[in-house]
């Protein structure tokens, strides 16, 4: 039967995190870092976790989302705050939609490894298009702080880059979870599981695999675009091509999904929590060595725990009264 109860667990985790962030001095920024990584994992999971396809160009979607918001706020400042912000969200979604339709339209005709290879150049490609074509400021990026302060005042700018940006990211993160839960309970979800396990058999079972992959890809990409718009542009008030297309965000998102459990609702939450905490303490203990430690961790997870923490817990919970809370 359809089961939405894992959402209770999900919302509970968010409530606890927000309570800790608000209640304990100095905890808000670490909590927002955790939520950023959870969101990044959730959005990737909708594609990678459910289809088994690897999108190596994932970070490009965060990047174009960030640019969408930056272009609206930086170039259409005169529209006024609310219209410019609205335009920013629309552009972030639109750019992510266009990129995902183009990349997906071409690359999703390809199977497995060939798809992954086709996406290898996506983030570099868009980055170099911006740099080489000197689009949107080229290598100088878009710096918003001065523009926003002048147009809307320092107070409004501070509100935008703190409360509004954080609230926006939390909404996107929770939205990603709710969408994941909906997909898992829908025909779409069953179709995706089937094609992940055996694409040819799925076709013969009546599943339009191209269309299903494309839907998952576009949803995943648009959510990534919204994360870029809130967590990067609004929060940091600048966008540089070198930053927003950096491959390490793709790596981090993959680690989070695999660590937590691909294709599950709570996997990216657990993965994001573990990852963000690990990263936070590793940065203190071994500065500059996070990736050095994370890469072998990913290999170990793949070799020894391919189902991830939540995949493992869900199996352990089967037949107990916790069963319906874990997925």
């Amino acid at each position: 039967m359809r089961n939405y109860t894992p959402l209770v667990t999900l919302l509970l985790i968010y409530a606890v995190m927000i309570a800790i962030g608000q209640g304990i001095q100095g905890m808000w920024q670490p909590i927002m870092l955790v939520i950023f990584y959870i969101a990044v994992g959730q959005a990737l999971n909708i594609f990678l976790g459910m289809t088994g396809y690897v999108n190596f160009g994932y970070v490009a979607l965060l990047g174009v989302g960030a640019y969408g918001m930056a272009v609206a706020l930086g170039y259409y400042t005169d529209l006024g705050l609310i219209p410019a912000l609205t335009l920013g969200f629309i552009l972030a979604i639109l750019l992510a939609f266009i990129v995902s339709m183009v990349v997906g339209g071409i690359a999703l005709r390809l199977r497995g490894a060939y798809f992954a290879i086709a996406t290898i150049g996506v983030n570099e490609g868009i980055k170099y298009l911006i740099l080489g074509g000197k689009i949107w400021g080229g290598s100088s990026g878009i710096v918003l702080s001065g523009i926003l302060r002048k147009a809307y005042g320092a107070e409004t700018m501070r509100f935008l880059s703190t409360v509004f940006a954080d609230a926006g990211l939390i909404v996107v993160a929770i939205l990603s979870g709710v969408i994941t839960m909906y997909i898992l309970n829908s025909r779409l979800g069953y179709g995706l599981i089937a094609l992940r396990e055996d694409e040819d058999a799925a076709k013969v079972m009546g599943i339009n695999v191209r269309r299903y992959k494309q839907i998952a890809f576009v949803i995943s990409c648009i959510l990534a675009g919204l994360i870029g718009a809130t967590a990067w542009t609004l929060k940091l008030t600048y966008v540089f091509p070198q930053d927003v297309f950096a491959i390490n965000y793709t790596v981090e998102a993959i680690v989070i999904v695999m660590l937590g459990g691909a294709g599950t609702l709570l996997g990216p939450v657990v993965g994001g929590l573990i990852y963000a905490l690990l990263k936070y303490y590793l940065t203190i203990a071994f500065p500059g060595m996070q990736l050095l430690i994370l890469a072998p961790l990913l290999i170990i997870v793949i070799l020894l725990f391919p189902e991830g923490v939540v995949g493992y817990l869900a199996k352990a919970a089967r037949g107990t009264r916790f069963e319906k809370f874990v997925r």
């Binding site: 039967m1 359809r2 309970n185 829908s186 025909r187 069953y190 179709g191 599981i193 089937a194 992940r196 396990e197 055996d198 040819d200 058999a201 799925a202 076709k203 013969v204 079972m205 009546g206 599943i207 339009n208 695999v209 089967r318």
Partner: protein, 244 residues
């Protein structure tokens, strides 16, 4: 007329796997396709179910041409199949596997309805108690039964069985044949069963038999007549003995 093949040909490089085969299947009919390994049977199935487009010839389903229709759209019209080597969706449960059939086949069921249908068909094939198990953990026989349940849950008009009975003991064979006959009568499904050996089982099941040989149709007709035809005896020298 449910299914009609008109001089269908499929080549792989220089090899002609199916050579100008014509075939007609009526609603509710029971047909056996017999042929040794490499005679083009599986390719014929793949062409009917839409895994490959044929290189020549035309295919009609209920009078409508489906020669170039993608596999998933053919399924919706009412074609379902099992695989010679079972292909379960490994990490999904048995119940989910069958429900996927109900959702995306001609039945086109919603999620809740599909899960209920899955229970019903699993009960029917006799593996209801395995429904929460991951499909990859089933034995080969259980996987075959699950595939049968999955295909039936799709509510097909044409059911293509690929070596379903191979490797089963006589008891299971009888049980499955009775089951197929029963469902077939209730839902008026035309069934094509494809076998390599097991001529005995085919006599119990099929009203009509098509014998394939090296990609072509060797002969076709009422079951007993065909199996005793000199041409078939010649091709199947060893098999003849098994009938008696």
């Amino acid at each position: 007329m449910l299914l009609k093949l008109e001089e269908v040909t499929k080549r792989f490089g220089g090899l002609v796997a199916v050579n100008s085969v014509s075939l007609e299947i009526d609603e509710g009919e029971k047909v056996g396709i017999v042929g040794p390994n490499g005679s083009g049977k599986t390719t014929l199935y793949n062409v009917i179910s839409g895994v490959y487009a044929p290189d020549g010839g035309r295919i009609f389903f209920e009078g409508k041409e489906i020669t170039n229709l993608p596999a998933h759209e053919r399924t919706k019209l009412g074609i379902a199949r099992t695989f010679q080597v079972p292909r379960p969706f490994g990490s999904a449960t048995v119940r989910e596997n069958v429900a996927i059939g109900a959702m995306f086949g001609r039945a086109n069921a919603g999620v809740d309805e599909a899960l209920e249908m899955a229970d019903r068909y699993l009960e029917m094939v006799g593996i209801y108690e395995l429904r929460e198990k991951e499909a990859k953990l089933l034995t080969p026989l259980e996987k075959k039964l699950m595939e049968l349940a999955r295909a039936l849950a799709m509510k097909p008009k044409l059911l293509l069985l690929d070596e379903l009975l191979a490797g089963m003991n006589p008891q299971d064979i009888n049980r499955i044949l009775d089951l197929i006959n029963k469902v077939k009568e209730e839902e008026n499904i035309a069934t094509i069963a494809m076998v390599e050996h097991l001529m005995h089982a085919i006599t119990k099941f099929a009203e009509r038999v098509v014998v394939m040989h090296q990609g072509s149709k060797l002969i076709e007709g009422p079951t007993m007549e065909v199996l005793n035809h000199p041409k078939v005896v010649e091709v199947y020298l060893g098999e003849k003995l098994k009938i008696g």
